[in-house]
């Protein structure tokens, strides 16, 4: 008996579960509870939130994919759908298959499957059972119980999480939740004998993290002690995270009246000497364009977190897209040195979030860290998160001792005779370091000028700062053989699906490789050229409609006529199937 169970478990490599319903009825918290439980027992999970820009109604869902190895994306298929309404079945029908089960809330009425497939239908009066316990709101716990039974989990697995979540509200609330859980659990066990066992939990000490949380953590580790921001989906969680943590570390978070003020305040704070940032999404980034130029010409550090969403205008506030790249690269009038970093995994959000502050201070220029909704709001189990070595090693501000070496008034903030273009920066409060940070073109001390020779020299000094800038391993990542005939190219979150695509292709015996570019500006063109030159086929995969990365490669490196581009701009992330299909058949792929 025991042997046969083990045999079954060994075969299970992955499992997918999703809860769907109207927004505002606890869909997210149902998913969050299960995600936490699975992560704690050592299951590798990836959790993706699908939601809408409204408070009540519509359709929202929370999907969890479980694997016996680290998982980077929510999966194409769906084994278990927990539906609170008929719309949830309709919206998610394409992911279901004949062996799927639809557990649905039968309290109000029966729900119907659609045509073409025959998943098992499992009616459970979830809301009615919650009402029996005296509180409809507890239906998400009933749903958790039913899900746990279907997934072959033990009720004890939930004890700790229930205690963590509701312990503060008292024993009565904890008990109520336990009862609700048990009701759902027992009902499923009693009525349905179908079990959908989970892959073996192989992880230890897994962290369940989102990109927005990791951006916040990265900022803190990078010495950020000031955030001025304006709330915007999907970036607000960075603000929440820093609001929760910065004050404990001596920092401050200010909610400003708009993104213009938020970004310019961050420049003011940086000028004063604190490492400061702002966080936003596309519409906010558009309002920060003038500030980018100000930081550039005044040579003031600035870090902007842009969590991209569907554009333009208000666009798709709750959907993922990678369409801000051009704006990050080129936005703002005039020409400035800037650094654009795009993390490609949730763990990388902490790394790039951290180094952004070192780089901004060192190079005295804006640094944009561009994640997206997919990375920002999804959660994954991580066994590679390691922050031990993320420390502020050095400050790049001139010391009082150095300033005292100058004759009174002789310090030149924008001195031109610096080989690397980086003129030492003083901060207010320091004696003998007086200067005016200037948004006009200026001379070495900070007086506005229009004299052509000086303008040229000052411009060149600024641009020189980033000549040859290359973050090495952090600039790009190549996976596969050097002689790979097919190279898949991407930036940002698409990497997560691409990782699986690559595994599939390699399993099929194809000599495929993957190039992920993370330092988008300055663009590591020479290294990209070497990689792309030796490939016979290049496919660029992007979550936008115009191929912004492909255009950048064409502009910086070349390969006209050789770049195949697959784009998606529906608001949803790619599925692995879509990319595989496009790579195999070239359907939907355009050649640039």
């Amino acid at each position: 008996m025991i042997d046969s169970i083990n045999e079954v478990i060994v075969l299970i490599r992955e499992r997918t579960w999703k809860v769907g319903g109207e927004q505002g009825e606890g869909i997210d918290s149902t998913g969050e509870i299960l995600a936490k439980v699975l992560n704690r027992r050592g299951n590798y999970i990836f959790a993706y939130r699908h939601f809408m820009s409204l408070i009540k109604g519509g359709h929202t869902n929370y999907k969890i994919r479980v694997k016996d190895t680290p998982v980077h994306y929510q999966g194409d298929d769906l084994d278990i759908l927990l539906a609170f309404d008929q719309r949830s079945i309709e919206e998610n029908w394409s992911e279901l298959h004949n062996d799927s089960i639809i557990i649905y809330d039968s309290s109000k009425k029966e729900m119907q499957p659609l045509e073409g497939k025959s998943p098992t239908m499992a009616p459970i009066p979830i809301t009615a059972m919650a009402k029996e316990l005296g509180n409809e709101i507890i239906k998400n716990m009933v749903a958790c119980g039913a899900s746990a039974a279907a997934l072959g989990l033990h009720p004890n697995d939930f004890d700790e999480v229930i205690e963590d979540l509701f312990g503060k509200k008292g024993e009565k609330v904890v008990d109520l939740n336990r009862q609700a859980f048990k009701k759902g659990f027992d009902y499923y066990k009693e009525k349905f004998n179908k079990s959908y066992p989970l892959p073996e939990p192989k992880g230890k000490g897994l962290y369940l993290i989102s990109g927005n949380e990791m951006s916040g953590l990265g900022a803190l580790l990078g010495g950020c002690r000031y955030l001025s921001a304006y709330p915007i989906t999907p970036a607000t969680e960075i603000m929440y995270w820093l609001l929760h943590h910065l004050p404990k570390f001596g920092g401050r978070v200010v909610q400003m009246e708009d993104e213009i003020a938020a970004c310019i305040m961050a420049i003011g704070a940086n000028y004063a000497g604190v490492r400061a940032a702002t966080s936003t999404s596309g519409p906010g980034l558009s309002l920060m364009m003038e500030a980018l130029g100000l930081a550039g010409i005044s040579e003031t550090p600035l870090v902007i977190f842009d969590v991209q969403r569907g554009g333009p205008g208000t666009g798709l506030p709750t959907k993922t897209e990678q369409s801000d790249l051009n704006e990050m690269l080129y936005g703002s009038h005039g020409e400035i040195p800037r650094i654009v970093l795009i993390p490609s995994t949730i763990e990388e959000c902490v790394v790039y979030g951290k180094i952004a502050f070192d780089l901004a201070e060192k190079y005295q220029c804006p640094v944009i860290v561009g994640s997206d909704l997919f990375l920002g709001m999804s959660k994954k189990s991580s066994d590679t998160l390691n922050i031990d070595d993320l420390n502020v090693e050095k400050r790049y501000i001139i010391s009082q001792e150095e300033l005292d070496q100058f004759e009174k008034g002789a310090f030149k903030r924008y001195r031109l005779d610096v080989e690397d273009g980086i003129s030492p920066r003083s901060i207010p409060g320091q004696r003998n370091g007086r200067y005016v940070a200037l948004s006009n073109e200026h001379d070495e001390v900070g007086l506005e000028i229009e004299e052509p020779t000086l303008r040229k020299a000052m411009f060149e000094k600024r641009m020189k700062k980033l000549v040859g800038f290359d973050l090495g391993d952090l600039a790009l990542e190549f996976q596969g053989n050097d002689d790979a005939s097919l190279v898949l190219v991407a930036f940002g979150s698409v990497r997560n699906q691409l990782q699986e695509v690559l595994e599939h292709l390699q399993e099929q015996g194809k000599n495929a490789a993957m190039l992920i570019i993370k330092q988008l500006k300055p663009f590591p063109k020479d290294r990209v050229r070497v990689i792309l030159e030796r490939a016979s086929r290049i496919v660029v995969v992007e979550n936008n409609g115009t191929g912004q990365l492909a255009n950048l490669i064409l502009q910086e490196v070349g390969f006209h006529g050789k770049l195949e581009v697959q784009l998606k701009y529906s608001g949803n992330p790619f599925t692995v199937h879509e990319i595989l299909h496009a790579v195999e058949t070239k359907e939907g792929v355009v050649v640039r």
Binding site: R225, V274, R431, L447
Partner: protein, 292 residues
């Protein structure tokens, strides 16, 4: 090293301003230099953030740290500096176009935050640097290149707005009276919280209506009105309303209010600029614990 007494010379720079002879901004510069020297502030303890326009050039001619930023954005810079390091004395300055046009949103919000800064608006009722266009404080009917038939709009009433929004210090000064302006600046800088000083600073080149003589004839000095002792914002508002805002002096002052840096979450004696950035391995462990 013995510290020498601070004088206004410590706030001078070698370069000469590029304002027109007779420009009201000269008086603002001199009064501000005198005021900070009177208080005994050292140049390195002061930050002057300015916007764009003739007024914006003030920071280049003032011997403290400065930030000559973007049009309308002197306040977000100034607030960022002050909250980041509340040990500094932070002054923002700009013109009527800068502050009450493009920067209006920041003005109202800075008032409601009560950030401890002094905001000096050099109000000449016209855009000067761009050679004479109607500004937000130009009177209705005012003729300029952009309103050849006379402005069709009512002017902004900055004092009304500041009082209505509950500003903790509201004053008005006139470039024709350097002594009073200096006293007002001193009081404004000493005041803890947001201080507005609207300064009538005539544009001698492009504004032929709101001239020194025009102001001299019309302005009432509040210091000469012994009965003027407003207890509330509303009393002050009524008074300036009755006098078409043509008064100089401290219009309203609210003592004892806490400034933003004392109210904000995480408020502490130690400003963010002075925080040790070390995060210990134990702290890192604690930071990650909630994700297990």
């Amino acid at each position: 090293m013995t510290e020498t007494a601070i004088t206004m010379k410590d706030f001078r720079v070698s370069e000469n301003p590029t304002w027109c002879p007779g420009c009201g901004d000269y008086t603002v510069l001199a009064s501000l230099q005198k005021a900070v020297a009177n208080i005994g502030l050292r140049p390195e303890e002061v930050v002057l953030s300015t916007g764009i326009g003739c007024s914006g050039k003030l920071s280049q001619h003032f011997g403290s740290y400065g930030f000559h930023g973007l049009h309308g954005r002197s306040l977000p810079i100034a607030q960022g500096v002050q909250i980041a390091n509340h040990n500094l004395t932070v002054i923002a300055a700009g013109g009527d176009g800068d502050g009450y046009g493009i920067g209006m949103g920041h003005f109202i919000h800075a008032i409601r935050r009560n950030v401890n800064i002094t905001y000096i608006v050099m109000d000449n009722n016209i855009y000067g640097l761009t050679t004479g266009q109607t500004s937000p404080t130009s009177a209705k009917g005012f003729k300029s290149k952009t309103t050849p038939a006379g402005s069709a709009e009512d002017p902004i009433r900055p004092l009304h707005l500041a009082l209505a929004q509950g500003a903790s210090f509201v004053a008005q000064a006139f470039s024709g009276d350097v002594k009073e302006m200096t006293e007002i600046f001193e009081a404004a800088i000493r005041h803890k919280g947001f201080s507005l000083v609207n300064c009538f600073s005539p544009c001698v080149t492009f504004n032929k209506v709101n001239t020194y003589d025009w102001f001299k004839e019309k302005l009432i000095k509040l210091s000469e009105q012994p009965d003027y002792k407003p207890q509330t914002h509303l009393e002050a508002l009524n008074y300036i309303n009755e006098h078409a805002s043509l008064v100089t002096g401290i219009i309203f002052k609210q003592e004892g209010r806490r400034a933003y840096h004392e109210e904000i979450l995480g408020a502490s004696e130690i400003p963010p600029t002075d925080v040790d950035l070390t995060i210990t391995p134990e702290q890192k462990k604690e930071l990650l614990a909630p994700y297990l």
